[in-house]
């Protein structure tokens, strides 16, 4: 443990109201501590700058998965294990379940939360591409009230996001699809478990005969933020699957993403694999595949 532990504080408010009051009182003084699976790594390494934490794990309002006709709503503290165990999610949002099953190992899946994954804002996180492709919405609460935004507008730059210091992410809302779609999720991390993605691809599409009627694509680890690839989607929408479509879509994706060389991989690899996965996704949509 490289941190000077006595300089850290963790408080556990009993209710959501109390928690929001603490956050409202001194903006930015307290930061939420959910499963702690991102925060503890930094603490251990002596690299956790912020000192005061608010334990939100015990707040019932942030737990649980709710299903209505139109939506599935996940409390921000929903764990990866809970995601995988949920029947409606397995049926209608298989990419989220797959992301959950490929996140960390069992211990992390029992403790890590979807809300933490979102607010930690790592461009390499594995559930954001699935959530972006499923058009998720985020609900925030604060002492002043609540607000809901589309997830794609949340990440504004590297570790920059649309959240105020007095807010908590309360829930993630997924619109339930009316029709059958095809889902394609692929995490590329060299080893099969406990991996940080080098590329993560999530795509969902609906065919109308031989045309792509609707498509949503998001990638991780190829930009400063988890990226919804709207240009690439536009290049595919209402088109037949053929070499020309593929070429246009690949050009769009190449222009849209901004992979880099870093400790884990190279720009070239990330770009090439992203294009390969796009092609594989699109080819599998073809009725003759």
């Amino acid at each position: 443990m490289r941190a000077y532990v006595p300089s850290y504080q963790l408080i556990s408010p009993a209710t959501l109201g109390e928690a929001l009051d603490v956050l409202a009182r001194a903006a930015g003084a307290w930061q939420p501590f959910a499963g702690g699976t991102d925060l503890m790594v930094l603490l251990e390494a002596g690299k956790l700058p912020h000192k005061n934490y608010l334990n939100i794990w015990n707040l019932p309002e942030l737990h649980g998965i709710e299903v209505t006709d139109a939506h599935v709503t996940l409390g921000a503290l929903t764990t990866y294990t809970e995601v995988q165990d949920h029947e409606t999610l397995r049926e209608q949002f298989p990419m989220l379940c797959q992301a959950a099953s490929e996140t960390g190992g069992l211990a992390i899946q029992n403790r890590g939360t979807i809300g933490g994954n979102i607010v930690n804002a790592s461009p390499a996180a594995d559930s954001p591409p699935a959530l972006l492709a499923y058009d998720a919405e985020l609900e925030f609460v604060s002492a002043k009230g609540s607000r809901t935004i589309p997830y794609y507008s949340f990440h504004t730059g590297y570790k920059q996001m649309n959240i105020r210091p007095d807010e908590l992410l309360r829930s993630i809302r997924l619109p339930r699809p009316a029709t059958e779609s095809q889902h394609y999720y692929r995490k590329v991390g060299t080893r099969k478990a406990q991996a940080i993605s080098k590329v993560c691809f999530a795509g969902v599409a609906r065919m109308d005969a031989d045309r792509i009627a609707d498509v949503r694509i998001a990638l991780g680890s190829v930009a400063p933020v988890p990226l919804r690839c709207v240009q690439t989607e536009a290049a595919l929408r209402n088109r037949r699957i053929n070499a020309e479509t593929l070429a246009i879509a690949k050009a769009a994706l190449t222009a849209e993403i901004a992979p880099i060389d870093d400790l884990r991989s190279t720009r070239n690899y990330r770009l090439k694999v992203s294009l390969n996965l796009l092609e594989d996704f699109v080819l599998r949509l073809a009725p003759t595949f």
Binding site: M1, Y4, S7, G46, V188, T190, R191, L263, N268, L271
Partner: protein, 756 residues
């Protein structure tokens, strides 16, 4: 009773799984301080100033000052001022200081030691020691070292060279039908034992120095501390605590951390504990030597090897440590289990400004065998033979000589091992099926391939090494008739305690539970040599056998025991003997088998008393979407003499193969200015169980006359074969020849599709 050959449960297994086993970090002493190391942040330079700072008043960092007067602080100067011994880690060349004095030669070199009772405050203090340097130019690759881009060690950057010359290769090239050349490289690898390095020391002028620690070789630490403190040997005591793995990483490094803890203990007068966290252990301690091998091979049109010229270079890092020995092993194994009339092997260990590389399972052999077994597939292709047929034509047989002119006197049947491995892996059918599938009009994006490697590994120290070691093992009976085995050979997870007890029990025809292996403690056990080099079972096991037989002979000689005895009679006789004579002990010293002749100058002769022989087959799939290779199936057939404990033996093979799969496809040390940049398990991608295929392990048993119950060495062998077998399989799958490990997906992509 016949315990040998049976899957007897581990001696210390229950304690380990119930958490009762005590590792060094589980121990605590009254008044104990914690110790940390402040390390160099530059690869090479002169130390200009060391200052002990305070956190800036306004920083968000610590909110308290650092009470420097409460800290015990040790630098190189203290070793002089306290009038201790020498500031070097005694090993081969004694070039590595315990604490850098004036100059540093690699990143993470120890410069200052700090101790304090509060380990959190200690970390805060470590961050506030500032060291100023005048930087000097540094080199980070064996290529730059060979080219003498900068001279950073001695006159020529060379720690050691060997030359093995059999016949005269120069006469052969002209008459060869084919000459095939190739270049092969391997990278560094981290041992990643579960338990990080750690030690506790008590040290003062009256009692001398006592160290507890996680280690493979208590007497190496003993020797090093004698020099560091300038004390007589009886004033130094080294005790091995339960050890969570070593793989070579706890062969030489524990001398360093033990010395550091002892220096802090000496200066403070209090016990000091030093435990590295994973990040420190990964960046600061030893790794496998990176290597480069050049091959030039002459073959005739019948596919017979005529000459092999091999140039093998390893990167030793900034100090010599064990590099000469690693180089030696890599050299001797470089020509493999083949007969070739003319062989020249030139090998060199060079210095770079990386942290010193050190012992790691296989000790240079995995590097040179990787090169050879990749190269032979290339040679086979050039000659127009299958990899299999080419090797069959050149396998070594009884009566033929190795590269060092050692005549093989044991029965060796490489063809038989190959046949069995191919049958078990369904090699031929798969080779055919994969060729068909990969060559079809619409091949799958997953390409399958199968490949193999054939190899050998010598057990024990090289040549006359075992004679120099003069290992001794003792056995001692208690009045109740229990027997303690006294040896410095350590249990590091591989099963030493269990096999020693099995061998001893069978030697006397008594029950397993009567035998206990004493905790290695230099004040209590004789020096049975280091726990390295696949020697513990074959060499030390044999000494265990003769030591316990010595007890029996003493009892028989005293008339207190009859030739035919029951267990109860034996135990009673022990009690009677001890009552009459005080104690019952027996010691046994190493005797070399007959006809082992080794010329250390010319590197010719009997390199090893015995070799283990093996053929490994790997089946892989390569995903052309992600350029990731996965090993799908693995068959390992080996002849290791008699198997003492089939579960432990299979465990050794499985573990070694898993570790070698890591070295081949996953584990890439990313260097930046000589520092390991990915020193966390997150970014250093060691494979998990999910990446490891079923590993199918088979033993052929051919008892070795001079091993205990016929056993030979086993621990390093499984590290040798997987890398070339896997890359041979990947060539089979993709048609592309890769000659570097680790083969990461990024590299595979570059070669398969170009730079993008």
């Amino acid at each position: 009773m016949n315990l040998v050959g049976k899957p007897i449960p581990r001696k210390e297994g229950r304690k380990k799984v119930t958490g009762q086993a005590l590792y060094v970090d589980d121990l605590s002493f009254p008044g104990m301080l914690h110790g940390v190391t402040v390390r160099s942040s530059v690869p090479r330079g002169r130390i200009k100033n060391i200052s002990f700072d305070q956190p800036p008043a306004t920083a968000g960092g610590s909110d308290r000052n650092i009470p420097w007067n409460e800290f015990t602080i040790v630098t190189a100067k203290d070793i002089r001022d306290l009038k201790l011994g020498e500031n070097y880690v005694a090993l081969i060349l004694n070039d590595q200081p315990y604490l850098a004095d004036e100059v540093v030669n690699h990143p993470e070199e120890a410069i200052v030691l700090l101790a304090h009772p509060d380990k959190y405050l200690l970390e805060e203090a470590r961050r506030h020691v500032s060291i100023e340097y005048e930087e000097l130019p540094a080199i980070f690759s064996l290529h730059d070292s060979l080219a003498q881009k900068e001279i950073i060690w001695g006159d020529d950057n060379v720690f050691k060279k060997f030359l093995v010359d059999k016949g005269n290769v120069d006469d052969v090239w002209a008459k060869a039908d084919f000459i095939v050349e190739g270049e092969y490289e391997t990278g560094a690898q981290e041992q990643l034992y579960i338990e990080n390095n750690g030690a506790i020391a008590l040290a003062n002028p009256n009692d001398g120095v006592t160290v507890w620690g996680s280690m493979q070789c208590p007497y190496y630490v003993h020797k090093a501390l004698i020099k560091l403190f300038g004390l007589p040997e009886e004033k130094i005591r080294v005790i091995q605590t339960e050890t969570g793995g070593g793989f070579g990483g706890k062969e030489e490094y524990p001398s360093m951390i033990a010395g550091h803890a002892a220096l802090l203990a000496w200066k403070s007068g209090l016990p000091v504990k030093m435990i590295y966290d994973r990040a420190e252990d990964m960046v600061a301690t030893t790794k496998r030597h990176p290597s480069r091998t050049l091959h030039k091979t002459a073959v005739n049109k019948d596919g017979k090897l005529l000459a092999m010229e091999i140039d093998f270079v390893i990167d030793g890092g900034a100090y010599c440590t064990l590099s000469p020995v690693v180089l030696s092993r890599g050299t001797i194994h470089a020509a493999g289990p083949y007969f070739c009339p003319d062989v020249r092997i030139k090998s060199t260990a060079v210095a770079t400004n990386l942290p010193p590389h050190g012992a790691f399972r296989g000790f240079g052999a995995p590097q040179s065998i990787f090169a050879l077994e990749r190269h032979l597939d290339k040679v086979a292709k050039t000659v127009g033979l299958t990899p299999e047929e080419f090797r069959r034509r050149n396998f070594i047989h009884e009566g033929e000589t190795t590269a060092t002119n050692q005549t093989i006197r044991e029965k060796v049947d490489m063809d038989g091992l190959l046949n069995r491995a191919f049958e078990l892996s369904d090699y031929h059918a798969k080779r055919e099926r994969f060729a068909r599938e990969n060559g079809s009009d619409r091949p799958s994006r997953i390409r399958k391939g199968i490949g193999f490697a054939s190899f050998m590994h010598g057990a024990g120290f090289t040549g006359s090494g075992e004679v120099y070691l003069q290992s001794v093992v003792g056995a001692e009976a208690t009045p109740e008739g229990l027997i303690r085995i006294l040896a410095a050979s350590t249990e590091i997870g591989q099963g030493t305690n269990t096999i020693f007890a099995q061998i001893a029990a069978d030697a006397l025809g008594l029950g397993y539970d009567l035998f206990e292996v004493a905790q290695p403690d230099t004040a209590q056990v004789p020096n049975s040599g280091p726990t390295v080099a696949s020697r513990t079972c074959m060499i030390v096991g044999k000494l265990v056998e003769s030591a316990v037989v010595g007890l029996k002979q003493t009892l028989l000689g005293s008339g207190l025991l009859k030739d035919q005895y029951t267990q109860a009679e034996f135990q009673r006789a022990c009690g009677d003997y001890i009552e009459k004579f005080g104690r019952l002990q027996s010691f046994s010293k190493y005797q070399p088998p007959p006809n082992i002749l080794w010329d250390d100058e010319k590197y010719q002769g009997d390199a090893y008393g015995a070799f283990a022989w093996a053929v490994y087959v790997a089946e892989v799939s390569v995903d052309l979407l992600t350029y990731e290779a996965h090993v799908d199936d693995f068959v390992a057939v080996q002849e290791v003499g008699r198997v003492i404990n089939p579960v432990l033996a299979a465990g050794q093979i499985e573990g070694g193969i898993a570790q070698a799969i890591g070295m081949t496809l996953y584990e890439n040390v990313v260097w930046e200015n000589g520092r390991m940049k990915n020193g966390q398990m997150t970014n250093y991608i060691m494979p998990t169980a999910a990446d490891i295929p079923p590993i199918r392990v088979y033993f052929e048993e051919n008892p070795y006359a001079y091993g205990p119950d016929g056993a030979k060495g086993i621990g390093e062998l499984p590290m040798d074969g997987p890398a070339p077998a896997i890359l041979n399989a990947i060539e089979n799958a993709t048609g592309e020849s890769f000659n570097q490990i680790p083969l990461m997906p990024e590299k595979m992509m570059e070669d398969l599709v170009g730079q993008g």
